[in-house]
Symmetry: C2
Subunit: 399 residues, 2 copies
């Protein structure tokens, strides 16, 4: 049986998650795990901990003792630079930077193969929920139908406030910012970009296929108005921001990040506050649901620590689905049609989006809406315009 | 990167799960997986499938082509015999027999080490929910506080009927039997023995410690009366049968299988029908919840198939917690005190069980109950008598 390898860590970044990881290791003292050097952007801050800080990455990369790179910085470009350098040296690296990963996974997978390095990033999708490792290890491609989930804690916190406390979007956003669940520039969270990065990563491990983020229709909740909230309440539904990948009958996959009008019988209807929840649907096991804290220093720090202890046992993603179906991976498609709710103010904004059919139409002085069938292709074509206008839309599945 | 190994399977057993696995492989055609020979107790039945049946285990064990043993028979003794023989030959074996596993895990772990065989059994605990592999791979001992869950689908189906449809225990049991969710002798399910086996297996992978099933207090729902149902409804709670292992502040672990009066804010309160749900609690990630189908041919068959495809990549349990904490494993303790509801009919049956204190007492002509603090030690001491009498008890945690 294998034994734990000793790990000497070079840590990049000492923000919320970096600090939480540091405290976690100090408190739980996992055997054979030590942070030797911490590389930060500026060494002038008073950090209140005793550790070996540096601003020079070489102090980590040229230290022969250091055998694990943990990268917890915000800047996606700098993050890519660090991870590339680690993998080129054949080191093991742990990263939580979903934006960087979503943009560069194919290159990073190749680098691992070429230099025999290892990259782990379970913390990047849904914080403490072990989604990636479960998809990698457990759910076989052949049986997997879809993965669907609430992948962003901040936007979910806001939507929960709106639908449980009956407050407006602006008020809910303000409360989320006060509670530390939304950034001062919340666009990454509320416009769906963070969920999109996670969906791209999840899809690689669920179906093997990598799809560039820019190809995937993504629409957030920042235009959510009281009219939309009223519509949802009248239909006895709640709006959640959902990332979704599904294998169609023809073997192709569709993906999107879009608000959904969910009825009460859906598992993710009850995923509240800053929590994340993922539903994995398969041919035989029906639906599985995983639920946990998706954001915050300690939940994310503990997911990073799980990656660290996994690497003590030389764990690595095998990219099974990507490798075993190479050359025959599911293709990405936008040819999928479904029902949406589309709310607009200026009458001409109805023409932004091509509908196959419209089944309901409401007009008033203040705003208008339609319910109708459209496609991912039409949505993606209209996306740049939709994001500029005062319109809101949500998938509106039939019960 | 590793490649899929070809597997030629010798299958023991062709009951509900064996048949589901056969159909699953025929339908999904996983690459490199073939069932060569099926060993059954009697070859006289008409099975309606084209396959190579035998009644002689040697036809499997002496076949040099067969490199994977899948054992899906009910009889725990015969199951042990097959798994021992497979492991002694250094083969890989997949088993779903929780009773056998719970009784013999230490021996089977040793056999794996000694002969370099591999035993996988994710299907044995909670069917399609990947609990064992997640505990093994993801949740580090040092951070793990407790695992608690609804581990038996049949008893949960009965309890759901009772609390959602307001029917009696006997009527709910009858409906469960009709729906195929309970055996004609339901004792294994409703008296908690099935959940107990799963709890023992889960604990080995959660904390490394093996505890003999007979040492663990186990009490089921077969004595549940209308009085108990009324009590639960009045307190706005539902009764669920819960398996529970928890690490105490002193590092020891306590375990039990016992009905619980759950308030609505508990994750497992909403796990209904034949579903299973497991809550994993950790120091930093708070609580994680996994939910899925725990019983039935196809969900279990797909869990078996997941073990099979995992073994294509030479996956094996590392028994990390057991090995890395060897000699220093958490000890099992009964020194844990908690509040219970205890209902009895004959006044002298109150004396069966030692209470630290009693906070409520109700007496009537028809029945009596108390609410009070007792210990696992007192419960386990009284268990043989409690099971014989018309009494019911449930953990009654404070809100």
């Amino acid at each position: 049986m294998t034994h734990r390898k000793n790990l000497t860590i070079g840590l990049f970044g000492f923000g919320t998650v970096g600090r939480a990881l540091f405290d976690l290791i100090a408190t739980t003292k996992p055997s054979g795990v030590e942070i030797k050097t911490i590389c930060v952007r500026s060494n002038s801050k008073e950090r209140g901990v005793t550790a070996n800080f540096t601003t020079n990455p070489d102090d980590i990369f040229n230290d022969p003792d250091i055998n694990l790179i943990v990268e917890l910085i915000d800047d996606a470009e700098a993050s890519l630079f660090i991870i590339r350098r680690a993998l080129q040296k054949g080191l093991t690296a742990v990263s939580g930077n979903k934006k960087m990963l979503a943009a560069h996974l194919p290159e990073l997978i190749e680098l691992q193969t070429k230099h025999n390095g290892t990259l782990l990033y379970d913390a990047s999708a849904c914080g403490s929920i072990p989604v990636i490792r479960n998809l990698e290890e457990y759910y076989d491609n052949d049986l997997l139908i879809s993965v669907k989930g609430i992948l962003n804690g901040s936007s979910n916190y806001i939507l929960t406030k709106i639908f449980k406390e009956g407050i407006s979007y602006d008020e809910a956003l303000r409360q989320a910012q006060e509670a530390g669940f939304a950034e001062s520039d919340p666009s990454l969270d509320v416009d769906g970009w963070d969920a999109l990065s996670k969906l791209v990563i999840i899809t690689v491990h669920a179906f093997g296929t990598y799809v560039e983020p820019s190809r995937i229709f993504t629409f957030g909740i920042s235009n959510l108005s009281n009219a939309d909230i009223t519509f949802a309440n009248e239909k006895n539904r709640r709006i959640k921001l959902v990332g979704h990948v599904e294998k169609l009958a023809d073997g192709r996959i569709c993906m999107c990040v879009v608000p959904q009008l969910l009825s009460q019988d859906k598992y993710i209807y009850g995923v509240d506050d800053e929590f994340n929840g993922v539903v994995i649907k398969g041919l035989c096991y029906d639906k599985q649901f995983m639920f946990g804290r998706g954001a915050g220093g300690f939940p994310t720090g503990s997911a990073i620590l799980s990656d660290i202890t996994a690497s003590q046992y030389d764990y690595r993603y095998e990219y099974k689905k990507r490798n075993s179906h190479a050359g025959n991976l599911p293709e990405f498609t936008e040819d999928v049609h479904f029902r949406i709710y589309y709310r607009y103010v200026r009458p001409q904004d109805l023409n932004l989006l091509e509908f196959d059919s419209i089944s309901e139409k409401y007009t008033s002085e203040a705003y208008n809406y339609v319910v109708g069938i459209t496609s991912l292709r039409a949505l993606q074509a209209a996306a740049p315009e939709l994001r500029k206008r005062n319109v809101f839309l949500a998938a509106y599945p039939r019960d």
